[in-house]
Every structure is written in structure tokens, then in C-alpha cells.
Symmetry: none
Subunit: 125 residues, 2 copies
Amino acid sequence: MIDFTLDPVSGVPFYKQIIDQIRFGISRGNLKTGEQLPTVRSLAVQLQINLNTVSKAYKELEIQRVLETQQGTGTFIGAEPVRIAPEEAREKLRSICSEFLSITSCYGFTVEEIIVELKMLKGKK
Amino acid sequence: MIDFTLDPVSGVPFYKQIIDQIRFGISRGNLKTGEQLPTVRSLAVQLQINLNTVSKAYKELEIQRVLETQQGTGTFIGAEPVRIAPEEAREKLRSICSEFLSITSCYGFTVEEIIVELKMLKGKK
DNA sequence: TACAGTGTACTATTTGTATAGTACAATAGT
DNA sequence: ACTATTGTACTATACAAATAGTACACTGTA
């Protein structure tokens, strides 16, 4: 279970914020395989946004195999994480990290600061 | 001097990303008083975005007295230094790292793997 | 003066986000 | 079978962000 929250002034689209929170919730173990997510209608009411916005987030995550939806039943956390070949994964990790560092360096953050933050986010519940 | 970078998938408007990077650059001392920024045209070419988008960022910062523009000459860092509250910096770091983690977790990478990769990339340069 | 480089201003257009409303389809429980 | 609940699909609308193109104004320099 997750407490969804939206930041309307961040500039990040609502549906992307929802996507992020679900993916992050899975990675931290707050959302477990098979667990049911709020219905599109209930989450829309809770966040005071439109039904279609929630639907868009769920749909995109379903395409990415992160979620599994059953019409008439609900939306659930997918079974297995996508498997990638080790070499490809390594290259992917490198490119993502590299891009990440270039962005953080624009803000002047040091690698040490970043690592501290990452560890903190990982431990957070 | 700063290496500007845009994250097109973050959902944050380009002009806001530019504003942020300039503000943080000043706050961290990477941009000093009186220093000339890239021209609107050159930065637009560099970031592969439109001239008007860069102009919008510069204009907003000029209103905030962060930048000083002289038509026909260029755009420069204003006299009064920008001070970014520690909480804002922390929040920025947190949001960037959070988004980063949500992406990496999608590929199944652990925080430990990521940290190893970041340290390796840091040592490379 | 002439010119190159700078920022500015404006209109038009496209794209993405979000809302609103409605209708339909699949499922579970009774 | 019926009903409630779930996800899906579609059209229309509004707004912001970004692009594209063009023209203009100011500055420094040759």
C-alpha cells in the first residue's frame, strides 16, 4: 500500500508522478507482487484529478509490464521484473548513470552527496 | 561556466530546467558575478531547442534580478548573489535522485550496483 | 557608415497535459 | 439473470509548453 501524493507546482505531469510513485514503491518493497492498486476511480477521487489521468498512468505501466490489469477486476502489481541480458543491462546502467551525473553536476551536487541521498532514499519507508 | 543539460523525460519544462541550473550554478559558485552566459542563439543550438525557450528562461531570471541583459551585448550574471536555501537544495537533490531511482529500479538495478557505477564514472574523469 | 552579433517582439502552429462527459465491456457476487 | 464495480474508449475542450519563422532594436567594431 502506498500514500499517493501529487505536487501540482513541480511541473511534472500528474500521470508521471503516479508512475514514479508506483515504480518507486515497488523498488522499496512497499508494493508487492500481486498487490491490488487503488481503482482508477478511487485514486482519481483521492488525488482530486480526473479518472483519465490515473488511467493513463496505469496504461503506460501496463505496457511496460510493471502492472497487470484485468477489466472488471482491478489493477495489480506485475509478477516478474523485465529480464535483460547482463551485457545490455550493464550498458544500460552505465548510460543511465552517466546521464544522471551530467544532470546533477549542472546543479553542483557532488557524487558523495548523491550517494548519501540514494542510501537514505533506499532505507526510507 | 556551466555545462547545460536537459532531461526531456522528466516532465519539467525546458525553460524551468535552464532557470534552475543557472540559479544553482550561481549559488554553488560555478557562475560568478558579471560572467557572460551563452547567447540565446548559441545555447539554443547547443541544447537543440528553440531560441524563444532560452529567451524565456533568461527573461524570467532578469525579472528576478538574477541576470542582467544588455541588448546587443549579451546576458550576464547579476550583481547580487543568489542564495538558495539548504532545504530547497535538499529537496532538489531528493527529487532528482528519486526520479533516478524509479528509473533504475525499473531495470532491476540495486542501489549498491548503482553506487559502484557512479563511483567508477566519477573516477574516470 | 556598414556590418555582425546580440537581445526582443510578435504571430501562428504543433504537441502534451488535464479536464469533462458519456458510453461500453468485462468481471465478481448475489 | 441482475447488479455493482472494474477498466476501456471516445469526443470535445482548455491551457501551457515548445517550436517555427520573421522582423526589429541595440551595441561594438572595423
